[in-house]
Symmetry: C2
Subunit: 332 residues, 2 copies
């Protein structure tokens, strides 16, 4: 707005901020032209498809307003890397647009460290973005490369095994602890809060799975039931999973099977950013090998079927009545 357009001398300009916190030599290294022009110029490798995804994180909705800025920088990029992992794509570049209520240099320094520490691990270059004043909002667009064998949600077929990487429920249990719904011991709390604040995108697993003939995949950001549900919907199939086969975070084991909270964290807990994927039964050995290559455990939790819908079978062999729903970004 025009009335907002007289700069305060004490306030660093947008360009100072970008220069100081978000311009890195690395940004230019893999880009023909990086931060500082109207657009970045990038060279996509011949024969590769460009994979593009955008995620917006809002304070009070996707993270607590007082979240540690280093972890927030990590998570802001991690959730986007996780989308590329679920496509079996190689991350290459990112843009970052952020609205900040104020210029807090310590906050920005820690946030950018968290962002770049993860970016460096995956050789991702920050090539552009935008900074403006406003309610705290973080929007990353991630760019990667893949060949035609990308892991699509619509590739599941009847008879496929359903797999999950790592274990589930830790992030949701950590949030329940933060919100006082449960009190974990120090070790369990630390482990769960690490899952919540520093998710590990399964990029290596996605790349290994993309070498298989046919894999359908999604990352578990909104909860196993909700995200597997998207695969079923896009593939026009149904599924049955066994509760006891779903790998649960160690902190949940003490609570299961009795605790409704624990079961909710396991089946409907968001923020784990593990992969849920479907592959032909005959490729089970290759899936296990892919997990070994990527250094992450993979667990078979069920089977794709022709009957529409998603059924969860309990320990007693009977179908559970599931009320739990995944995180909907428009839920309240």
């Amino acid at each position: 707005m025009k009335t907002a357009r007289v700069a305060e001398p004490a306030m660093p300009s947008e360009f100072d901020l970008i220069q100081r916190f978000f311009t890195r030599p690395a940004g230019a290294a893999s880009a023909v032209l990086g931060v500082g022009d109207d657009a970045a110029l990038l060279q996509v490798n011949p024969g590769q498809l460009l994979a593009v995804s955008s995620d917006m994180l809002v304070a009070g909705r996707h993270f607590l307003p007082d979240a540690d800025p280093y972890s927030l920088g990590h998570k802001t990029l991690a959730v986007n890397l996780s989308d590329l992992a679920a496509m079996g794509a190689t991350p290459r570049w990112a843009t970052l647009a952020l609205a900040l209520p104020e210029v807090n240099e310590a906050w920005l320094a820690a946030f950018s460290r968290g962002f770049f520490d993860l970016a460096d691990r995956f050789s991702v270059s920050l090539v552009g973005g935008d900074t403006t004043r406003g309610p705290l909002n973080l929007c990353v667009t991630i760019l990667g490369e893949t060949d035609a064998r990308a892991l699509r949600r619509d590739a599941a077929q009847i008879g496929d095994d359903i797999w999950v990487s790592g274990d589930l429920g830790g992030a949701a249990l950590g949030l329940a602890h933060l919100q006082g719904q449960i009190t974990l011991n120090a070790d369990a709390a630390a482990a769960c809060l690490t899952r919540l604040h520093r998710p590990e995108p399964r990029v290596a697993l996605g790349l290994a799975l993309a070498q298989l003939p046919r894999v359908a995949a999604i990352d578990i950001s909104d909860g196993l039931l909700a995200d597997l549900g998207h695969i079923l919907e896009r593939s026009n199939v149904g599924a049955e999973i066994e509760l006891t086969s779903v790998p649960s975070h160690s902190a949940l084991l003490a609570l299961l099977p009795g605790s409704a909270l624990a079961r909710r964290c396991l089946l409907a807990g968001g923020d784990d950013y593990e992969l849920c994927f479907c592959a032909p039964v005959d490729d089970a050995a290759s899936v296990l090998a892919a997990g070994a290559v990527a250094g992450v455990s993979v667990h078979r939790i069920g089977r794709i079927g022709s009957v529409a819908g998603l059924r969860v079978i309990g320990q007693d062999g009977r179908q559970l009545q599931i009320q739990e729903r995944g995180f909907d970004h428009f839920a309240n």
Copy 2:
């Protein structure tokens, strides 16, 4: 946040919204895989560089909270198209992430119409994005293609002519009218508010200029002095412009040269989204031809020099003392 993760039945889910308002056949047409998976898959044409830019628009900062949603949809994409125009790139794809305080279907319908009407004019496909609840925030990442002759900010050289497309100050005068700083007659107000709310990205001009041997360009989003200043900084040169040569919106002519407001709108007014560019004197005829091809007037306003800084020469031939500053996204 976990407490926010129980869906209200009455509330359409994120996926319903994306499906209903932001999924178009066009989205899939030019994309290998469009909206609906973890990432879009795009085929960049061989030999082309990918041009990428992100812009975030925040209510109360970049637009009035009660802005007409159709115009806002137009402007949200237009400001991003303008970045590609300033690179001489061909727009191809966009992602849209939006945080909305509430689900207002009429607002979303009008916003998406404004967005897609402009996208269709430039054959831009919306290939992905994100929707979430939060303070109104609109973040677009625009993707285009260009060859190595992109229009960079750092390409200006001593002796170059400095040019501006169209005319300046109309958008800023419209905002001044909205804010009661001045009262325009109905025709002038309508013309200026169209400039403010429905900026026309100069994509065709950028593409035509990219055919010239060497052009440095930027789009005027923050005001002529501020944006030309970025070219000077990146090119490590200075410049002198003549106030009387700067093309002013017709509604300003009645006010100039007496009005400080009018001069501020002309030199420091944002939101015009015209192009400011520098080219060798010998290419003046080619620049004029490029304007003719693009159907937009181009005006020579000054000359790049070796003396650092930006000087504005007034009608009397004397240097103006310029206090006006461009819009800084961190100004208050």
